[in-house]
Symmetry: C2
């Protein structure tokens, strides 16, 4: 079942988490992921915001989805499929109650980004990655590429559920 | 009590919500807020990400905090107080379960950005806004400036709780 494959991907992602803060502007961008040959796109931490989300359950994170200029332009034009050159980045942090905020609000209501977990990318090239719907998938934990082939194939397996939106789940936040 | 003032601000903010999607790249930036004379900073929707959060309770939103280049540079340098010219934007959307994501995950765990609620700004000018800790506060609902003086004063009243971090609650997400 697709959901099981996705859950396994998610569990693998969590297993890759190192639970400490990552200072500075993000992981080093030198390392390549051998499976798809993806390097961390330089400057991704500075990309524009597509949207935000909270994943509860095993993931228990807060996430921001950022896009390079090609991605943002396509989203704002409502254009599908995404053009070649689109890159979408999913950053995530542990979901942490903020004691200092709660003190001010006078109740427990505020949840903020804790430690960085991992960053995932989708990179569009409809010819090169035709076998996986035109996208390559990659994941990095503190700059270290996730190299497990089955896990990365699991990304595509899950994303097939949203083939109608060119395999991209995230909507643009207005 | 400070928390009550903050809660009133939050309630006023919610009362200003129009529950529909705001298409495009954000509210029009022509209107000035009469109290502090703040106009919506042009292009704020394209600013870099500082962090994300979820406010439960009456707010029930997902939020992204974005910063102009001065803000981002100060955050990354760990520099306090923020320099004059810093602008921090807090965007927010209703906190909505994603049925299509939950179908794929096989459980109810995924919460995404729904309709835009309002956008708030903090603008730093230590001389001009000395009476309110060096910052002016503004809020816009679909491009319409919140003009209620008591509410905007309430922003400063709450933020005094974090005077030690130059009145800014949000930490930078690594």
């Amino acid at each position: 079942m697709k959901w099981l494959a996705c859950l396994l991907v998610a569990v693998a992602a969590v297993a890759g988490v190192v639970a400490r803060s990552a200072p500075g502007s993000g992981p080093a961008d030198g390392e390549a992921a051998p499976i798809f040959g993806v390097k961390i796109p330089p400057g991704y931490r500075d990309w524009k915001l597509i949207s935000v989300a909270h994943e509860a359950g095993n993931l228990n994170d807060l996430r921001a989805i950022l896009g390079n200029d090609v991605a943002i332009k396509a989203y704002r034009e409502g254009k599908l499929p995404f053009p070649d050159g689109t890159i979408i980045a999913r950053l995530a942090w542990s979901y942490v109650p903020s004691e200092e905020n709660n003190k001010v609000f006078g109740r427990a209501q505020s949840f903020v980004a804790g430690s960085a977990t991992n960053v995932q990318f989708m990179v569009k090239d409809s010819k090169k990655y035709a076998a996986t719907g035109g996208w390559k998938y990659a994941q990095f934990d503190y700059g270290k590429a996730l190299a497990d082939e089955a896990t990365l194939q699991g990304c595509f397996n899950c994303h097939q559920a949203i083939k109608d939106r060119d395999y991209v789940f995230t909507h643009y936040a207005p």
